[in-house]
Symmetry: C2
Subunit: 201 residues, 2 copies
């Protein structure tokens, strides 16, 4: 393969969908590496080898591009009903096993740590993620649970997931950071079980 023309378009111009895809890939890489704040339209354009004006033309703003790029590593509306179906006494462990598997996969971990870091980095990103999380996770999870307090239960599960992402993968406190995945599942499954199915007090 020939080397990528650095920053300047040259030779054959890629089609529109190829250009969009290159911008999304560049944005995903920079948001993950630098966080939301320090990533600029200009830097994304340079990384993708296109003009900044083209990024604005396709995506409008950094915020809008961010929402396109921030893809969850799984589709909650598809996954959650499957995890919650069947034996209610095992739902905490099934959810824990699923989430730990996502987090032990480099791509899944990269996406989730990117989302958590972006949410922490500034109010604008936090606001966007509040809407994303509510629409894409809290509502499907609450609809699937179908009990009173379902939204609060979904929030509580989410708070423990975000806390694990921060403690184990972002900050890396020990011994949690080195804990074997199976032991992590056993440690947090009863927490999910209680938040999902037991009285909240």
């Amino acid at each position: 393969m020939s080397p990528r023309p650095g920053g300047k378009r040259s030779g054959r111009r890629p089609g529109e969908s190829g250009t969009r895809e290159a911008i999304v890939r560049a944005a995903r890489r920079l948001f993950a590496d630098l966080g939301y704040d320090r990533t600029t339209i200009r830097a994304i354009a340079a990384e993708a080898g296109v003009d900044a004006a083209l990024v604005v033309h396709f995506f409008g703003s950094k915020q809008q591009l961010f929402l396109v790029v921030v893809e969850l590593p799984f589709e909650p509306a598809a996954v959650l009903p499957r995890l919650l179906a069947g034996d209610r006494a095992g739902v905490g462990e099934r959810l824990a096993r699923f989430l730990v598997a996502v987090l032990e996969d480099p791509d899944g971990r990269g996406r989730l740590t990117g989302i958590v870091r972006a949410a922490a980095s500034e109010p604008e990103a936090a606001r966007m993620l509040r809407e994303l999380i509510t629409e894409r996770i809290v509502t499907p999870l609450a609809d699937t649970l179908g009990v009173e307090d379902a939204r609060l239960r979904a929030n509580l599960v989410g708070s423990q997931v975000v806390g694990l992402v921060m403690a184990r993968y972002v900050v890396g406190v020990e011994p949690l950071a080195s804990l074997a995945p199976d032991a992590l599942v056993r440690a947090v499954a009863p927490t999910f079980q209680r938040y999902l199915t037991e009285p909240l007090g």
Copy 2:
């Protein structure tokens, strides 16, 4: 009171301790408002009304100043033994009640959200906070618990606390963000109880 001389020292020069204190106050405000990344020595100096060279003279670097400024809203080595003393069956609720009280106080909430946001914002801040958390929280909590797996138990409690800070105060997902403090205590106390005293599976 006369207005503060804006950016330039004029009139009576404050004593060294007054200047240090002004720098710490300015740094605390900027780290909380802007996060770790976007706060510069130059901006701290301007906010404190002193030369940037004086900030470096007193504190060395942004990292060192950050560690001086990041004060926990309570002293774990003093508080934890008191919370963990007595009836072991009530330890989760005592810890939940204490932490929710700290988080409902504007100063305590400001400090803890500042720490969590800084930890998320970049690897250097995360590394510093890993050491701070291990030394100031995990070790005293583990020493007080005095059981096997005590450090892992302390990590798990910390992960739920960090997750609550993120979900309720930084991102603000509903209904968790509006939940009454007493209901929050009841919702999370059994999680802390299990992480501290029950089998981890």
